[in-house]
Each structure stands twice: as C-alpha cells, then as structure tokens.
Symmetry: C2
Subunit: 151 residues, 2 copies
DNA sequence: CAATCAACGTTGGACCAGCCAACAATATAC
DNA sequence: GTATATTGTTGGCTGGTCCAACGTTGATTG
C-alpha cells in the first residue's frame, strides 16, 4: 500500500460549503500563523483596522464595525491595551462608554499586520491569475452581501 | 444617528481572506444549525460519508480520509456509537486497530444529512446563476487542490 | 531471535472564533 | 419618575483544529 489514502469522500469534495471551508481553514491557518508571528490574532487586527478607519469609538460601536461580540471586544481590547496599542478612557459625555483610541504604537502595529496580511493574500491566491482573482472576490462579495442583507 | 453603523473597514471588506471567512462562517452557521436540528455535527457527517464511500475502515484511515485528527475521531465515533450509527469492533488481523462499520441506522442518518446539506448549498449559492456557481466551485477547487498538494 | 521503529487508539489539554445570558451602571423616553 | 435601552464586563458553552504523551501492537532489521 504505497498510495496515499488521503482522498476525501466525493460528496464532500464537490460540495461548495466544503470547498469554502477548506480554503477558509487554510487561509485561517496562514493568517493565524502570520499574526501570531507578529504577536497578534484576528480580533486584534479587526479592531485596530476599525479604529484606524473610523477613528476613536466606543467598544460597542467597535463591536458593530468588526462583527465581534461585545464581550469578546472587552477581552481583545484588554490585550491591546496591555501592549499600549490602544488607549481606553471614559467618555465624559456618556459615562457608560469608553472611548478607544489608536496609539502611535498601535498604528505602527496595524501597518505591520497589513503587510503580513498582504503577503498572505498572495500566498492564498497564488494559483489564480489576476482576472481569476477578481472573479473570485467578485463572486464571494456577492455571496457575502446577499447574506449580510438577509441577516 | 439612525444609519446602521455596521460597515466593516475597507481593508477587511476587500481582502479575499476576509471574504472567504465571511462566507465560510455563514455556511458554517447554516450547516451547524441544519446538522444540529438533525442531531449531528460536522465531524459526524464527514465520518459517515467516508464510511459510506470507502466501506469499513480503521479509525486512523478514517481520520486521513476526513482530515480529522486521530484524537477527535475517537470522540466523534464515541458519539456515533452511542447512537448506534456505527459499529466499532477490534480487527482480528491487527489488534491495534478497530474496524468501524456503518450500521443501517447510520446509513439512513447519512441520507438525511445529505438532504440537509443539499438544501443548504442551494441557500448558500442562492444569489449566483448556475454558471457562476460552477465558476466559483472551479476556482475554489483549484485553490484547495493547490494548497492540498503543498501541504 | 532481539531490538528498534512505526502505527494505532486513547486521554488530556490548548487555542481561536463565535455566541449567549446575566449584571450593575448609566442614559433616554414616556 | 418610572420604565426601557445601551454599555461595559464577567462567565460560560460549543465547535473546530491541533499537539503531546502513553501503552499496546506490528513490522523491520541487524
């Protein structure tokens, strides 16, 4: 028995949900490893990106922008605050809220993660030609939009 | 402030890895809910499918066919065995191994899950035309194959 | 034959992602 | 002023993936 017996059942191999999961899992591994090497994880990047794009925000709006649950935002921000990548200070105009601000270090770190991510996209899409990449992202965007609306 | 402030940062919105994750997460929710309603989860379906397609197997080869870690195969098979969807008996010709067999109930259950999954694929790909669906699965298959090889 | 190495099932644990329930404090609406 | 909603926070659960270790058993090889 020298043949590699790693073949997946046909019903799985051809199911779009399976394929998407496969590719997603792989991308997940790549991103996870890349971010881990930079001392971060997915939630951190999402939060930093939202802060960079929308400016100082409350934790709740951060959660809405990133699709991260309020409770998980807390934990991730704790980690980011411990590294002084963000600043958390009470909102004087609404004492329920914290205002989260990106620090200079946080901005630098975000740039670093941006580069990590860019390299990973290339890795992920390596076998596709540029027009094919556009096709793929186009189709995926339509799927994502469709399901975002009906959510 | 009446506008829904759920927009995701642009760097994320356009990153293929993000899109794939989004769609994968959605598909994951659908599949998870569908399987849960049928009293199963992803690992169960994969294992049942592998058993159906390749016949009685040892746990290790099941793991290889499904991409599930040996240790997780154990747990999932325990659950399947508790419902008598599979049969686990020692291999007389190699006492390290167990021979896992699909029971009649297991076969029926697999069929049920097949139907659940088929409905979900339709749901997932709803916004795409048939040729677009083929495009998508084609592109995804190429990505999956490429990364499977280099693994 | 004996010794080494590889494969198997199993246990236990780690991690990340996502989700939900509850709570006290605060703000808003009626 | 009383009810309702939002915010931050704690705690916990589930699924999926992965890894390290162990004892048992088979295969290899010297």
């Amino acid at each position: 028995m020298t043949t590699a017996e790693a073949r997946t059942p046909a019903r799985l191999r051809h199911a779009p949900s399976w394929l998407i999961n496969l590719v997603s899992a792989h991308s997940h591994r790549l991103v996870g490893a890349g971010f881990a090497a930079a001392g971060a994880r997915g939630y951190h990047y999402r939060l930093l990106a939202a802060l960079d794009e929308y400016g100082p925000s409350s934790q709740a709006t951060l959660g809405r922008h990133t699709g991260i649950d309020r409770s998980d935002v807390v934990a991730a921000l704790n980690e980011l605050a411990a590294k002084e990548l963000i600043d958390r200070s009470p909102d004087p105009s609404d004492r329920r809220r914290n205002i989260i601000t990106l620090t200079a270090d946080g901005s630098r770190h975000l740039q670093e993660l941006d580069e990590v991510l860019a390299r990973i996209q290339d890795d992920l899409l390596a076998p596709l030609t540029p027009p094919e990449r556009e096709q793929l992202t186009g189709l995926l965007t339509r799927l994502a939009d469709h399901h975002a609306k009906s959510r």
